[in-house]
């Protein structure tokens, strides 16, 4: 669709014609005559989803349109739309939003064959959605300000007053909230509330993981809780925002070693369930997972048939806590964070 529009625009290089085409393309995309294309509500980084979906389109000839937003935004939109939802497939960055939709019956069960393509612990036990990419929690720290001996042993230590105004979090992001949901599942409500209270006092709030890492790099803060790939991506590009930054992978099944899962599911309201199943199957297939592993997004592929991207610390060397991925409670996390004044 976007490609087609670009070609149309290309044909008219004059600004006036450009305007005319744009109006035409807007009306075309607004009139809803796109029943041939599969609609994906995408909360993952667009570059990653697009890389895999393009592979799918090349293989099957099925056109796909991405509508991108944030995890909870799109999850709630699917729920609000109900039977009228134009979405066929929902793809998230983090699993709590998959759970949100699944609990309200928004998904059709994923094909058993598809579920078998990734280790069971990365998908919902009831088969309502499947994991297709992973991301490890890390502490990004400024290596000239923090010696390795001064690093915390657990993510829970960051609530200690000694970290006051020295750490950063992207509190409003689905990433950080997924990490909090892991803490909630492992430590319980009371301990989590106390921990969040400590973070409210200690942490500077950033717009996103990238901005937080940049602040670490600049020495505005000493450390930030982020996902691994923000650092690896920057290193792979120019390294400009991460040259003073190193990563601490928490160990010993600490809540801070949580590995988040990006989920994919077939929306119940889909008018093309067969094609939607096909896409979700492709996302988790060897071919799809190879695209995930090879993507510049640098997230973890989950299929055992595909090797982790060689730039990353191998998935098998991480020491994540045992988590019931489909039980992560997003709404409760938001409630606790609102009470703590972080939202």
């Amino acid at each position: 669709m976007r490609f087609g529009r670009s070609v149309g625009v290309l044909a008219s290089s004059l600004p006036v014609l450009l305007l005319a085409t744009s109006c035409a393309s807007i009306t075309a995309s607004g009139s809803g005559d796109d029943n041939a294309a599969l609609v994906v509500y995408n909360a993952q980084h667009e570059e990653l989803t697009k890389a895999v979906v393009d592979g799918f389109t090349k293989q099957t000839g099925i056109k796909v349109e991405l509508r991108s937003g944030s995890d909870p935004e799109l999850a709630n939109q699917i729920l609000a739309e109900g039977d009228n939802s134009p979405a066929d497939v929902f793809v998230t960055e983090n699993s709590p939003s998959m759970t949100l939709v699944a609990r309200q019956g928004g998904f059709a069960p994923v094909d058993a064959q598809t579920l078998a393509q990734v280790p069971r612990q990365y998908s919902a036990a009831d088969g309502s959605w499947v994991g297709w990419a992973g991301r490890s929690t890390v502490l990004a720290y400024n290596s000239s300000q923090l010696q390795t001996s001064a690093l915390p042993a657990s993510i829970m230590d960051l609530a200690d007053p000694k970290w006051s105004q020295k750490i950063g979090i992207a509190a409003a992001g689905a990433d950080f909230q997924a990490i909090v949901s892991a803490v909630l599942q492992l430590k319980g409500e009371q301990a989590t509330a106390a921990w969040l209270k400590g973070l409210k006092a200690n942490a500077k709030i950033y717009q996103g993981n990238g901005a937080a890492m940049k602040a670490v790099n600049a020495g505005e803060i000493q450390a930030a809780v982020i996902y691994h790939y923000y650092w690896y991506k920057d290193q792979a590009e120019s390294g400009e925002n991460s040259k003073n930054v190193k990563l601490l992978f928490f160990e010993n099944k600490d809540p801070g070693a949580f590995v988040g899962v990006s989920g994919a599911g077939v929306v119940k309201a889909s008018d093309q369930p067969a094609e939607a199943q096909q896409l979700v199957k492709y996302l988790t297939s060897e071919e799809g997972q190879t695209l995930v592993a090879g993507s510049t997004a640098l997230e973890y592929s989950l299929s055992l048939k595909v090797a982790t991207n060689p730039q990353l610390k191998p998935l098998s060397e991480l020491e994540p806590p045992k988590i019931n991925i489909a039980e992560l409670n997003g709404p409760k996390v938001v409630e606790l964070m609102t009470e703590a004044g972080l939202l």
């Binding site: 625009v9 807007i26 607004g30 935004e73 939202l343």
Partner: protein, 497 residues
Amino acid sequence: MISLLVAAVASIPLLFIIGYTIALGPGEAIALVWRPRVGELLWNTVRLAVGCMALSAVIGTAAAWLVERSSLPGRRIWHVLLVAPLAIPAFVNSFAWISITPTASGYSGALLVVTFSYFPLVYLPVAAALRGLDPVLEETAQGLGNNRLTTFLRVVAPQLRPAVLGGVLLVGLHLLAEFGALQMLRFPTFTTAIYDQYKSSFNGAAANMIAGVLVLCCLLLLMGELRLRGSARYSRLGPGSARPAAPMSLGVATWPALLGMAGLAVLSVGVPLGSLGYWLTTGASTRFDVWSLISTASTSIGLAVLAAVVTTAATLPVAWLYTRYPGRWATVIERSTYIGSALPGIVVALALVTVAIRGVPALYQTTAMLLVAYAIMFLPRAMVSVRAGLAQAPPLLDEVSRSLGHSRLSTLRRVTLPLIAPGLGSGAALVFLAAVTELTATLLLAPIGTDTLATRFWSLSGSVAYGAAAPYAAVMVLISAPATYLLTRQSRKEQTR
């Protein structure tokens, strides 16, 4: 009546929030509003709004006077430079600042950046008013023994009052709704908190209650402005046409004035453009996708043009009613069109989403829906210009035309429209500028596959791909530039006529 329809559509978001609050019940509503976090946000919102409104009023008025009434060299160029910040969206401006110096965050940083982004909203109407002001009034005052200062205070300032207040009101409303810039500068206000809540839990109760408090702030602002403006009339009564005022010689003050203007231009235009240039040349973090740039650009332009036409057309009947048949109801209708603009785009968008899904599902996910949201949010921009234009077009001319046998329609076409064309033009240009860079509502309401420059820029800068984001910002500025230039030209033309 059409005005009623316009006002009704503009009131949808407000009615949605009121309905939501009632449905929630007082107990839970109070629990959600009466908490420390809301106090913190209120304090941040108020001090930012008050600070920026005051600074914009001073800077905007002073700059307008220097350009329109003094002997400042290069006034034509200064005029362009003073309007230019309108071509740079506030969130691009803050991106520019924060990527140069991380200290541009918090209160002082936010105040600085939003003021440099929004003072033209005061400058433009004040400059227009100064141009439209008949110098005979001032000459008379001076002839009656007033010096220049007392003339300014007694004659000019009262005449400027509607323009200054209108501009300041716009600045205030913009601030109450500003999201992107403040989010980027890490200065939490009601809007960013609402967005964070929405991002976390869609249209949850907490978000809607914060939105309710925000709406109250907006209503207070509107009532305050209404009280201050009073009910005096400002159109010129004398026969003939006004001639341009003779510029006042600055003398030794020329250099400080030039320096001040240069500083203002550097901070409000130079820094953002310089920073964008830096990122364009050095920060190419990913390979550059030309097709994506072209397609998002054409989408943005198309949407903005449609929004400008629809919104300006919607303003006309309301402004007409308000200036020609003033009264309590006309005022209520006119004021109600302002409400949408004080709500963050995301609140307007979600109110529309909910209403559409429940009421008119066919509208959901259409361009029309997005245009309605734009119209609700940008009505005030067009309204200020169109209303001011109508107020300066004496109703007497309509009556004369009618008495000479022209029909209402023909009078509108041959007399009123030509008179208010500058107002319509600047109103449409303002809406175009706003729509081409609109972010939050577009994120939510744009039909599937519709990507604008602003949404693409936001997602890229959010993932710190600054180099990749910069071209989108640059194109946004380039597209906004002609409309901004038209604003300056059109006001010039008026002067030389």
